[in-house]
C-alpha cells in the first residue's frame, strides 16, 4: 500500500500555515473545489447530493435529537430502562427520519458516577443523535488528556465532580457510540418533556457539561 509520503500532488499544510489564514483558506478551497469537480465529472455524485449532505448536518441532525431523548428518559421510567438496555432501538422514534443507526449505548450519570465520552484514536462521536462533533471534541488536548486526567479537563469546562464520585471514561475505539444520560436537575418537578429538553446541553450528553439549571431558564 502506498503512503502519503509518495503522494506527489499534495500541497502540504505546513506551507499553507506559513502563509497565514487567508492564503491557507484559498489554497484549501482550491483543493476542495478540485475534489468536488472530480467526483462530479467522474459521475460518482452530483452537486445537489453534496449540498444535501451538508444541509442535513447543518440543519437536521444535531444535539436537539439527543436532548429530546434525555428529556423523555427523565419523564418516562420505562423509556429510561429501554434506553439503557438498547439505545439504538429505544431512540429510534427520535432519530432523523425515525431511525437511529447502530450501535448506540446510553450511559447514565448518578451521584456516584460521572461518565465522559472520548475517542483517542480519531473523533468517533454519536452523529445520529448529536450531529457533528464540536471543535473541542476533535482537539488533541481533549483526545490525549481525557483518559488520563479527566478531572483537570472537566475543570477547564467549569465542571466539578465530587471527589469521591467515580469518573468513568468511555474511549470509543470501535463502532459503538456512546451518549451520556445526565442527571435531571433539581427543581424541575412537573416540567414538560419539551421544557426539560431545553435544559439538555450537547456537552451534558458527552460528559463535559451538566444540564442547565432551571433557575437560568426564562419565564
Amino acid at each position: 500500500m502506498s503512503t502519503h509520503d509518495h503522494h506527489d500532488h499534495d500541497h502540504g499544510h505546513r506551507h499553507e500555515h506559513d502563509h497565514g489564514e487567508a492564503s491557507e483558506l484559498s489554497e484549501t478551497e482550491l483543493r476542495v473545489r478540485a475534489l468536488q469537480t472530480i467526483l462530479i465529472e467522474k459521475g460518482y455524485t452530483d452537486p445537489a447530493a453534496l449540498d444535501a449532505i451538508v444541509e442535513t448536518y447543518e440543519t437536521r441532525i444535531g444535539p436537539h435529537i439527543g436532548a429530546r431523548i434525555v428529556a423523555r428518559a427523565w419523564t418516562d421510567p420505562a423509556f429510561r430502562e429501554a434506553l439503557l438496555a438498547d439505545a439504538s432501538k429505544a431512540a429510534t422514534p427520535f432519530g432523523y427520519h425515525g431511525k437511529v443507526g447502530d450501535h448506540l449505548v446510553a450511559v447514565e450519570n448518578t451521584p456516584e458516577r460521572h461518565n465522559m465520552v472520548v475517542c483517542t484514536l480519531c473523533s468517533c462521536y454519536p452523529w445520529d443523535v448529536l450531529g457533528l462533533p464540536p471543535v473541542w471534541y476533535k482537539s488533541f488536548a481533549y483526545r490525549s488528556r481525557t483518559v488520563k486526567e479527566p478531572r483537570a479537563v472537566l475543570r477547564e469546562f467549569g465542571v466539578t465532580v465530587p471527589e469521591q464520585a467515580e469518573i468513568r471514561v468511555w474511549d470509543s475505539t470501535a463502532e459503538v457510540r456512546y451518549m451520556v444520560l445526565p442527571e435531571r436537575p433539581a427543581g424541575t418537578e412537573g416540567w414538560s418533556e419539551e421544557k426539560l429538553a431545553g435544559l439538555v446541553t450537547r456537552d451534558s450528553m458527552i460528559g463535559t457539561g451538566l444540564p442547565r439549571s432551571p433557575a437560568g431558564e426564562g419565564a
Binding site: R14, L25, Y44, T45, H97, G101, K138, A174
Partner: protein
C-alpha cells in the same frame, strides 16, 4: 500502526479550548470535504477502516493540522489509492479520463439515507465468544504496522470485560482490504491507576472497545 493519531495519555497539547460558537462548519469548504468523503464511503469506494488508515498514515506534521484538513488529505489520497482518480487529475483539478464504476453506483439525493444513519457492523460469528462479562483479560502487547484500534495506553494492562457487543467487522482486517473477518467485540474496563501509575486519580476507570484478538485471559 503506532502513529500520531494514537493520542491517549500524551502530554503537551495544552488545555482544552472549550469555546464553542455552535457553528457546524467553519468555512464552507469543511462541509464540502465532509460531503465528498461521505459520498465516496457511501458508494463503496473504501470502507470506514480504510478511511481511518488513510488518515493515520499522514506524516505527523500533516496530521497535526485540523480535522477537515486531514479529511481532505485522506480523500485525495484514497481516490488515487483505490483507483477512483489519478494523481494527475487531483493536480489538474478535474477529470482527465472516465471514472471507475463504484460498487453501489452513483450517489444522488435518493441515497441520502445511506449517510444520515450509521450502518451496522454486526456480522454472524465465526466461533463462540471466548470471554464473558466479568472475566479478567490482558490487552495484548502488540504493535502491528497496519491499522488497529487497540490504543497503546492499554496494551499490556489487565482489565475486566464489562459489556459484549456481538461479533463485528474487524478493523485490523477491513482497514487493510482483507475483508470483514468478524470478531467478538467487548468493552474492557481498566483502573486508572493500572494505566497511569500510583499517582493517578483513584476514582478513574477507563474503557475501550476491544476485539477478541486484542485480548488474552489474565
Amino acid at each position: 500502526m503506532n502513529g500520531i493519531h494514537d493520542m491517549g495519555g500524551m502530554d503537551g497539547f495544552g488545555t482544552v479550548d472549550t469555546r464553542d460558537d455552535g457553528v457546524v462548519f467553519h468555512g464552507k469548504w469543511e462541509g464540502q470535504v465532509m460531503a465528498a468523503s461521505r459520498v465516496m464511503g457511501a458508494v463503496g469506494a473504501w470502507n470506514i477502516d480504510q478511511g481511518r488508515y488513510g488518515i493515520e498514515q499522514l506524516p505527523p506534521h500533516r496530521y497535526l493540522t485540523s480535522y477537515y484538513h486531514r479529511w481532505l488529505a485522506r480523500c485525495e489520497w484514497a481516490l488515487v489509492q483505490y483507483g477512483y482518480a489519478d494523481a494527475d487529475e487531483i493536480a489538474a483539478g478535474h477529470a482527465l479520463r472516465p471514472g471507475r464504476a463504484p460498487p453501489r453506483g452513483k450517489f444522488t439525493t435518493a441515497n441520502l439515507d445511506r449517510i444520515s444513519h450509521r450502518g451496522s457492523y454486526l456480522r454472524p460469528p465465526q466461533a463462540p465468544a471466548r470471554f464473558a462479562i466479568g472475566d479478567r483479560v490482558l490487552a495484548r502487547n502488540m504493535h502491528p504496522k497496519g491499522h488497529t484500534r487497540l490504543p497503546r495506553y492499554v496494551r499490556g494492562h489487565v482489565g475486566v470485560v464489562e459489556r459484549l457487543h456481538g461479533c463485528q467487522v474487524f478493523p485490523d482486517s477491513a482497514g487493510m482490504g482483507e475483508g470483514d473477518n468478524p470478531q467478538w467485540l467487548y468493552t474492557v474496563r481498566f483502573e486508572g491507576r493500572d494505566l497511569w501509575g500510583a499517582d493517578a486519580d483513584p476514582t478513574l476507570k477507563v474503557s475501550v472497545e476491544a476485539f477478541e484478538p486484542y485480548l488474552e485471559p489474565a
